[in-house]
């Protein structure tokens, strides 16, 4: 990550996701550079598109990106922007930046995979806790819970940055809509892994990864 410079404002946002992303890519997702074009691969959608350095670093470590792309981060000739563009970044399933788009796209992805019989394919989407303030996420959350979209998984990286907080905690927002949800220490790799792989028959699954508060 030190190869990527600039974007200092988003620095803390970048490291908040690092452990959660690493465990997901290293131990859970069924996708590699070789299978990135397979129709039944697992999908990871980075919805919280700001602070993508950890994402680029993990994609590099897993062989999706060449390491020599990293120093150009954010420059005119680099495919790696301060918000990712799926048409430029190998392995990126969506372009993001404007908050509140990844979860609805993930719902559509999960529905599309189900319609084509890819029942084994899991869809994961990473959102920030403040991002859950976007109304589009409320639409997606309620729909996915009501329809029991089992292959959908949300990873909320919670650095307590939501402007008015969330009475009752983030997870309760999901469980009240019929989701399975669990809250863990976002720096504890074993806890993350257990939360990621917990069974959740008949319902979508949410993992809230708590990290240190935004400065």
């Amino acid at each position: 990550m030190s190869l990527m410079t600039g974007d200092e404002k988003h620095g803390p946002a970048a490291t908040s996701t690092l452990d959660a992303l690493w465990v997901l890519y290293d131990r859970v997702l069924r996708v590699t550079p070789e299978t990135a074009g397979d129709s039944d691969r697992d999908r990871f959608l980075l919805s919280k598109g700001h602070g993508p350095m950890a994402y680029y670093a993990v994609l590099t470590a897993k062989g999706f990106l060449p390491e020599d792309w990293l120093p150009g981060f954010g420059t005119f000739d680099s495919p790696l922007g301060h918000h990712p563009d799926r048409t430029l970044v190998p392995g990126a399933e969506i372009g993001s930046g404007s908050l509140g788009h990844g979860l609805p796209l993930a719902v559509g992805t999960a529905l599309g995979l189900r319609a084509q019989g890819h029942t084994r394919s899991a869809v994961w989407v990473l959102v920030g806790d403040a991002e859950m303030d976007e109304g589009s996420n409320s639409e997606a959350l309620a729909f996915a819970g009501a329809t029991g979209l089992e292959n959908l998984h949300v990873l909320v990286v919670d650095n307590a940055s939501g402007t008015y907080g969330r009475r009752g905690g983030i997870a309760s927002r999901f469980t009240v809509e019929g989701w399975s949800a669990t809250t863990v220490d976002g720096r504890d790799h074993e806890a993350l892994y257990r939360a990621y792989t917990a069974p959740h028959p008949g319902r979508p699954h949410c993992v809230v990864a708590q990290v240190e508060s935004a400065p």
């Binding site: 993930a106 189900r114 319609a115």
Partner: protein, 298 residues
């Protein structure tokens, strides 16, 4: 046209496993049979229009070709950022089919009217826009859109339609009448009124059921056959929507353009769509009056 759309889209679901229909309550009752036959390819997200378009984007990323439908105001205007990002920015392909158009729901007021839908789409790239003037044209253009690849398509359905269908040829304006005094481009359901308005006048009448891409070559050829490069655009949505396209087509030709369409000022009236057509000066008498004045000043 909406009746024809729901019937044909249901048939297309039977024929093509790549297709899906995504709804937000509107017209869901008309897809009940299709939903029973294809429970995973007919999805009603409820009254959630941001999700409507987001779901379509996600489905498209898995290889499906979603047909997305609700009223124009809730399909293009309300979730415009989803249209821009979840489809355009993702390079995802989909077919958006709207009903309601500019004034179909006249008695419903401004909330259910979308005269600016095409002007909004014009801020984005890669959109094909069909404005059928007859249910048969709507069917042909829908089948064309459903079979296509590599494009984002908007099909704008309306209650208003012409007495007879014209053959559709996406990307080409059809020459229906030839004259020397100017060129009148009639879009979709305003063709009948335009033909009546120009009866006995010496103008060329072009018919457009597809407005994007804009047939620049067709307009240039028509203008070349006239003695005055006077162009009238008759559009059933915001007046002037296609002016920049006409200007670009005629960039090397000194020309005048009269843009007819719905007024930007809000018409705070209810009533019927026919009354709104007249109020916007888009009935035959209104079109005739405006064209006569324009050509007389030339």
């Amino acid at each position: 046209m909406r009746e024809r759309f729901t019937r044909v889209a249901s048939e297309l679901l039977d024929e093509d496993p790549r297709l899906a229909v995504v709804l937000a309550v509107i017209s869901a009752d008309r897809f009940a049979r299709a939903a029973r036959a294809h429970p995973h390819r007919v999805v009603d997200v409820g009254i959630r229009e941001q999700l409507l378009v987001g779901v379509a984007g996600g489905m498209a990323l898995t290889g499906l070709r979603p047909i997305v439908h609700t009223f124009a105001s809730f399909l293009v205007e309300r979730p415009f950022e989803q249209v821009k990002l979840d489809l355009g920015h993702q390079a995802a392909e989909a077919v958006l089919v709207s009903s309601g158009a500019s004034y179909d729901v006249a008695s419903g007021g401004r909330t259910h009217q979308a005269p600016g839908d095409i002007a909004l789409l014009d801020t984005l790239d890669g959109w094909t826009v069909h404005v059928p003037g007859h249910p048969d044209e709507a069917e042909a253009l829908l089948r064309h859109a459903a079979a296509g690849t590599g494009t984002r398509v908007y099909v704008r359905l309306s209650e208003q339609s012409n007495g007879t269908a014209r053959p559709v040829g996406p990307g080409r304006f059809q020459v229906l009448r030839e004259g020397r005094a100017g060129v009148v481009v009639a879009v979709g359901p305003l063709l009948d009124a335009t033909l009546e308005a120009t009866r006995g006048t010496d103008v060329t009448v072009l018919y457009a059921s597809t407005v994007r891409p804009f047939d620049a070559a067709g307009l240039r050829a028509a203008v070349a056959g006239t003695t005055a490069a006077d162009v009238v655009l008759v559009e059933p949505y915001l007046a002037g929507t296609s002016v920049s396209f006409a200007a670009d087509a005629l960039r090397d030709v000194p020309h005048r353009v009269l843009p007819l369409g719905t007024a930007r000022e809000e018409l705070r009236r209810y009533g019927t769509w026919r009354e709104h057509v007249a109020a916007h000066g888009l009935d035959a008498a209104g079109i005739r009056r405006q064209i006569d004045g324009f050509l007389a000043r030339g």
